[in-house]
């Protein structure tokens, strides 16, 4: 009975996470369609008014609209393909996942959410160059893994001052994999609105609810989130 409850609870949190990411991406797709629709309308307008326009001007205006449509179609195709890949991560409850590729796609899919808070999330250059060498991987539940990492990003995003850049890097040694999320901005040491360690320890504050959820998500995949001593971010430790 308790196992069933836990499973149901896991499924509910997974569904909420999938819903949040899907809502954000479909919102962006709506913008893509809105831009295509406006350009299609503009092309109609231009053709209707073509008698008042020179051939060169008409061609230039139509080409401009076509270029915008092409760009937006590509944006839409990329987002749809990422969303499709994300939806398929629910296919298996346990799989070997490539940390770099998974993080790269997760950041892309959730970019709109973090951008709305004025925060940029990026993968460290050294992690990117490592992508062709020994890529760290982990065997776990792919959805819960992404949810745990996203919860950490989301918590740091909501705690960060606008203009903050959250840089993700990772390290694998023996059976231990660490993902580091480090904040930087032009405010010097003032990256986050609150002292993360204090918020994490004091469970009575409103922000700590989000931290508690972050820790719970990490627990589900046997990971631990640990705030840096200098308060500049956190480390998620697997294994």
């Amino acid at each position: 009975m308790e196992d069933n409850n836990t499973k149901m609870e896991d499924n509910n949190t997974k569904a909420a996470f999938l819903g949040k990411v899907t809502a954000s991406v479909t919102h962006e797709l709506q913008n893509v369609l809105a831009i295509i629709k406006e350009n299609e309308g503009l092309m109609e307008d231009i053709i209707l008014m073509s008698q008042e326009t020179s051939a060169a001007e008409l061609a230039e205006k139509l080409e401009r609209s076509l270029d915008t449509i092409k760009k937006q179609v590509l944006r839409g195709v990329n987002r749809t393909s990422e969303l499709n890949g994300f939806a398929h991560t629910t296919d298996h409850v346990k799989a070997e996942i490539n940390i770099f590729k998974t993080m790269d796609k997760l950041i892309s899919l959730t970019r709109r959410i973090t951008n709305l808070a004025g925060v940029e999330v990026t993968i460290a250059e050294n992690a990117e160059t490592a992508k062709n060498e020994q890529q760290p991987s982990i065997v776990t539940d792919p959805v819960l893994f992404q949810m745990a990492v996203y919860n950490c990003i989301d918590w740091l995003t909501s705690s960060a001052f606008p203009g903050t850049i959250l840089t993700i890097s990772f390290q694998k040694s023996n059976n231990r994999v660490s993902i580091y999320i480090t904040g930087t901005n032009d405010r010097g040491k003032k990256i986050f609105k609150n002292n993360l360690q204090a918020v994490a320890i004091d469970h009575s504050t409103a922000q700590s609810v989000q931290w508690q959820e972050t820790c719970d998500a990490c627990d589900k995949i046997n990971a631990v989130a640990k705030i840096f001593d200098d308060n500049s971010g956190l480390e998620i430790i697997f294994g």
């Binding site: 479909t26 809105a34 309308g41 609209s65 709305l116 004025g118």
Partner: protein, 124 residues
């Protein structure tokens, strides 16, 4: 005759607003664009507009926060909000804060223009 009507379009999707502005220009409106709430508010402080079209989901200053600041500058300036599907809650909240109405993206240009006309007529 629409040339005297000045419209400010505020949306971070720059290709969306620039195309919409061009379509409005073709219909004789005088339209300007801003890509975030902060620059939109600066423009409203420095220029007279007849109507503002404001996207609700923007980075930095949110649509609703921008709306509050616009209304603090000029409570009579009509504001039409743009939302995505499923964002009707924010649209209604915006109307509670003084927006004239809200429309969902993608827009229907005729519905959009008739909404602008209605908002301006009510002001007369």
């Amino acid at each position: 005759m629409n040339k005297n009507i000045k419209i400010l379009l505020i949306d971070d999707e720059t290709e969306f607003v620039s195309t919409l502005a061009e379509r409005l220009e073709l219909r004789g409106y005088d339209s300007k664009t801003a890509e975030d709430g902060e620059s939109g508010i600066t423009m409203i402080s420095n220029e007279i507009f007849d109507i503002v079209v404001l996207d609700l989901m923007m980075p930095g200053l949110s649509g609703l926060e921008t709306l509050k600041q616009i209304k603090a500058i000029n409570s009579k300036l009509p504001v039409i909000l743009l939302t995505g599907h499923g964002a009707t809650k924010e649209g209604l909240e915006g109307m509670r804060l003084g927006a004239y109405d809200y429309l969902m993206k993608p827009l229907d240009i005729n519905e959009f223009i008739s909404k602008i006309s209605l908002a301006l007529r009510e002001l007369e």
